[in-house]
Every structure is written in structure tokens, then in C-alpha cells.
């Protein structure tokens, strides 16, 4: 405080903005100076004349006498001309310097200014007082931008002004350097973010690859539920099948195998929905539909003396329904058609649970659907299932399929339908079984890609 009081001087400021004036006033007062404020050049000039200040700080753009005019008035008055005059300028134009010189200003401070910087200027001006005799010493002609200015300036004044201009340039330069540094920092951050993004993308790509591999593996597991060969020959006749999932992972599968020495089992399972959940359920169901007498098989069970008991189809459906209630399996359910063929007698016991009916094509005569309505597996624990019997004669064919066959749609959204199925199998009745199945598949593939089927002569 003592130092401030010691250094404190009288200062007149000219500033038309009340807020700017207040800020400036506070800064200067805090530094120990005594401040008087005029809201334009004329008012400030009055204050200067009333009582001579040690220094004047003036804005340039003001109504009723600008900063230049105010400065000129001060510097033109022999009594006042030695008062140091600081112009607050934006210095956006080289002419500002000339105008300042012409007006006789001693110093520039560019706006917006740092308070400490302005206080420094005030201090240095007070330390190098202007000599009165030097004030109006010489006149210089300066031509700039097509205009000639007669500048009446003392050496000290020119020097002060040049120094302040140079200091402003240095300050501006430092700002630029700082800005450049900020830019460099921002750039570095950007590069770091880019790198992180790149790494993240790589991680996603890796995860994606892993998922694709997993899905492929799952599809392979699902394939393992199917018979090894598309054409199978048993002592009672031939079987041919095709499997075309409409999505990479399907909930559908089929199988055919000997249950014991006298029985052949055939089934098609169609799990609702598609994708991973459906395919997982189909794999789980598949473990129950195995001809190996084990704890899990619902098709056969060990009898006495090491014999194998073939479970009747209706019991198979009932047991599956007991094991696979949809509430326990994410609301997934499945339809199921299952045939047990007696290979000696040609008798077929079958059940269908919400599944499209078997299609029987006799050696001679018209094809006929073996309709058997019942609930899909998994809807109701108390559901009851039925079983029926049909007699196959030599040369007869029996078709098992999923709704992917009959509901296959063409581009006009027309379903393949039961009639088309009957037509195609009837047309191919004299061709070998496997060729007929291929033909049927081709016909459907031209519409939509999902079908599986089984033939039995």
C-alpha cells in the first residue's frame, strides 16, 4: 500500500463505455492512482483543464470529440502538452499509428489490454517525462495509403510511440505463438483420439471376426444334427433329403436312422424364430432325438436283457412337450413330425405336432396329405398328442417337409402351396427318388431358399 500511495498519480480517463470505464477505474485505483472519468473527449478535456493530471488514458471512438481530437487539443495547449497521452486503440490499421502521431499521442495500448500491461506503460511514461521544449519541435511529412500527414512530433514522442507499437507487435506475436501452441496441443489430442478410435475399430473388427467364427462353428454343430449323406439306402428302401436354412443359423433340422433291427426313425423339427436362440434350442432338442439308448434319448430306451425298446411316436411328442415348455426357453417352441417305419411290414406310426402334414404318394394313384392336427411342442404342458398309422406298399413315397416348402414365396408374395407340392412330386414320380428331391428343391429355390425334405419309397 505504501508503495502504491507513493506511486499514485492523478489520471484522467476518457471512455464512452460506462462498463469499460468502471473496469479501467477499478484497475487504476487498485494500483493506487486517483482517477477522474470523462465520458467523451470534451468532458475529459474539461477535467484536464480543471486540474492537470499526471497522465491521460483515452479511448479513440467516442461521440463528441474523438480520442484523436482530444489528444490534439491537449498537445496543442502549451500548458498541457507535456502530459503523457495514452491512446487505447485496436491498431487494426497502420493509419492508426499515423493518426496517433499526428494527434501527438505518446503511447498506444491495444485493446483488449492486459491491466498489468497498461499499468507498466503508465509507469514507464511517468519515468521518462517529456521535456516541454521538445514537444513541438519538428514537423515530418508522412505519406501513407495515398494520404500525406503532417506529423508534428518530438523525438521522445516518436520513440515512445514506436516502442509501444513494437511492444504491441511483440505481444501480438506472443499471442500468436500461444495460439499456435494451443493448435499443436489440439492437433496432438486429435491424433491421440484418432489412434484410440483406430484401436477401437480394430477391437470391433476382431470381435466381429470372433463372432463370425463362432457362428460358423454353431452352423457346423447344427449340420452335425443331419445325416451324413443326402442319399441313404436301407434294406426297406431309399431315403433322400435336402436341407437349406434360410438364415445362416436356423432352428430347423431333420434326421433319419435305424432305431433297432426292425425300425427306422425319421423326423423334421422346426423351431420358431431363427438365429442363435433358435439354433441353440434345436441343438438341445437334437440331443434328445438320438437312436442311442441313453438317459437323454426320448426315441429309444433300454429294455430287459439288453434289448432296445422303440418309444411310440405319441409318447415321444408328449415327452418332448414335457421337457421343452416355451416359458423355459425364451418363448421358443417347435413343430415336430416323427415317423417310425417298420422295415419288415411297411407300417408307419407317426405323429405331427403343429407341423405340416405328411404327403403320401402311392405307387399308383393320387398323392394325399396325411393330416393330423395337434399343438406345437412347448405351448401347454397339458397338451395331448395323437398318433396315426399308415401302410406303405412297395413303390410308395412319403414326404416329410417343413413349412419352408409350402410357404416359400415368390417375388409376388405368392406361396408355393400344397397344390404345387403335389404337382411337383407327382410329375417326378417315375424319376429316381434323389433326382425328384433335387427337382423339387430347385423349383422352390427359384422362389425362396428354405426347405428340407425326406423321401421314403
Amino acid at each position: 500500500m505504501t508503495e502504491n500511495e507513493k506511486a499514485g498519480v492523478e489520471i484522467v480517463i476518457a471512455e464512452d463505455s460506462r462498463i469499460q470505464a468502471k473496469i479501467l477505474d477499478r484497475r487504476l485505483t487498485e494500483a493506487g492512482h486517483r482517477v477522474r472519468w470523462g465520458e467523451n473527449g470534451r468532458a475529459a478535456l474539461e477535467l484536464v483543464r480543471q486540474q492537470r493530471p499526471a497522465i491521460i488514458v483515452s479511448d479513440i471512438e467516442m461521440p463528441t470529440m474523438t480520442g484523436y481530437e482530444f489528444c490534439k487539443a491537449v498537445k496543442g495547449d502549451p500548458d498541457l502538452q507535456t502530459i503523457p497521452f495514452i491512446l487505447l486503440s485496436t491498431l487494426s490499421d497502420p493509419l492508426d499509428i499515423i493518426r496517433g502521431l499526428d494527434a501527438g499521442a505518446d503511447n498506444y495500448v491495444t485493446k483488449p489490454y492486459e491491466p498489468d500491461y497498461l499499468l507498466g506503460r503508465i509507469r514507464s511514461l511517468l519515468e521518462t517525462p517529456l521535456a516541454a521544449e521538445e514537444a513541438a519541435e519538428s514537423t515530418i511529412d508522412v505519406a501513407i495509403a495515398g494520404q500525406t500527414f503532417k506529423v508534428k512530433a518530438g523525438r521522445q514522442q516518436v520513440l515512445n510511440l514506436l516502442v509501444s507499437t513494437f511492444e504491441n507487435a511483440v505481444a501480438k506475436n506472443q499471442e500468436l505463438i500461444q495460439t499456435n501452441q494451443d493448435l499443436a496441443t489440439a492437433k496432438e489430442r486429435l491424433e491421440r483420439n484418432n489412434q484410440e478410435l483406430k484401436e477401437l475399430n480394430e477391437k470391433i473388427a476382431t470381435a466381429n471376426d470372433q463372432m463370425t467364427r463362432d457362428l460358423e462353428a454353431a452352423a457346423r454343430v447344427q449340420r452335425s444334427l443331419l445325416p451324413a449323406e443326402e442319399q441313404l439306402t436301407f434294406d426297406c428302401g431309399d431315403v433322400a433329403w435336402r436341407y437349406v436354412p434360410c438364415h445362416g443359423l436356423a432352428g430347423d433340422f431333420l434326421n433319419v436312422f435305424k432305431l433297432d433291427e426292425e425300425h427306422l426313425g425319421l423326423f423334421v423339427v422346426d423351431v420358431s424364430g431363427h438365429g442363435v436362440p433358435s439354433s441353440l434350442l434345436s441343438v438341445t432338442v437334437g440331443r434328445f432325438l438320438t437312436p442311442k439308448a441313453s438317459d437323454s434319448s426320448v426315441l429309444v430306451r433300454p429294455g430287459e436283457d439288453g434289448t432296445i425298446v422303440v418309444v411310440p411316436p405319441v409318447e415321444v411328442a408328449t415327452e418332448l412337450n414335457r421337457q421343452f415348455q416355451s416359458e423355459d426357453f425364451s418363448e421358443l417352441y417347435f413343430t415336430f413330425v416323427y415317423c417310425v417305419v417298420n422295415t419288415k411290414t411297411g407300417q408307419v406310426r407317426y405323429t405331427a405336432s403343429g407341423h405340416p402334414p405328411l404327403l403320401r404318394l402311392p405307387a399308383a394313384g393320387d398323392a394325399a396329405f396325411q393330416t393330423l392336427h395337434s399343438l406345437p411342442i412347448g405351448f401347454f404342458p397339458e397338451a395331448e398328442y395323437e398318433e396315426q398309422t399308415l401302410q406303405l406298399e412297395p413303390g410308395d413315397r412319403l414326404y416329410l417337409y417343413s413349412d419352408g416348402v409350402t410357404e416359400a414365396m415368390d417375388k409376388d408374395l405368392q406361396q408355393f402351396g400344397d397344390d404345387a407340392l403335389v404337382e411337383v412330386v407327382t410329375l417326378n414320380r417315375s424319376r429316381p427318388l434323389d433326382a425328384g428331391v433335387s427337382e423339387l428343391l430347385e423349383t422352390i429355390t427359384n422362389r425362396r431358399q428354405d426347405c428340407e425334405m425326406l423321401h421314403l419309397p
Binding site: 420358431s272 424364430g273 418363448e331 417352441y333 402334414p357 392336427h373 395337434s374 399343438l375 405351448f379 408374395l413
Partner: protein, 119 residues
Amino acid sequence: MSEKPDIVIRREAGCVVVEFAVPRISEGTIVEAIQTTLTQLIENDPQQKIVIDFQRVELMSSATLGVLVRFYRDLAENGGRIVLCGLQPPVQKVFELTRLDQLFRIEKDLAAGLSRLAG
């Protein structure tokens, strides 16, 4: 939403009428939308009388059956009632094949469906 809604819900004769206003109910978003809509109906009032109008549905996938059966169970457990109506032959066939025509009350058209629930 300027698009025509796929599922229209309105009150009529003391019932909630749910109209599936799309020609094809296959898998994916429409099935999910039906599930969401029906779940909301149950949450609002599990004892209401509901008519589902299939008049404009030409084809329906089996995936929809699971949703309808679950809805039926939830409603039946809470004392609500449901009638299906306006089933086109391909849709009717799906219900017959899965024997769900025995489970659901099915009426020829909306008027018949409403009068069935009026009693």
C-alpha cells in the same frame, strides 16, 4: 409418425379391438411390435375383453403364434377374454394345423366377434 400404423387399437362396444393392418405378418419387427402392443394391453388392464381382427392379414408366420399363445395365457390367467376374427384361409390353416383353432375362440368377422364377447 405420418406412416399408417401396422396395428390399430380402438374401443368398440366395451371391447378393445386390435386390428392387424398389414397383409403379411412374418418375422422381425412386426412380430415384435405385436408383442409390445399386446403386453401393454395386459399391463393396462388384464381383465379386458379383446378382439383381434385379422381381416387384412393374408399371411402369418408361425413366429406370431408364440406371441398370441403367450398373450392368451396371460389374459386367461387374469380373467380376460379374447376372440379372433376375420381369419383368411391361409391364416385359418395355420391355426388349424397347430390346433390353436381349438384354443382360441374364432369368429367370422368383427361384428360376430364383438357380439360373442357382449354376453
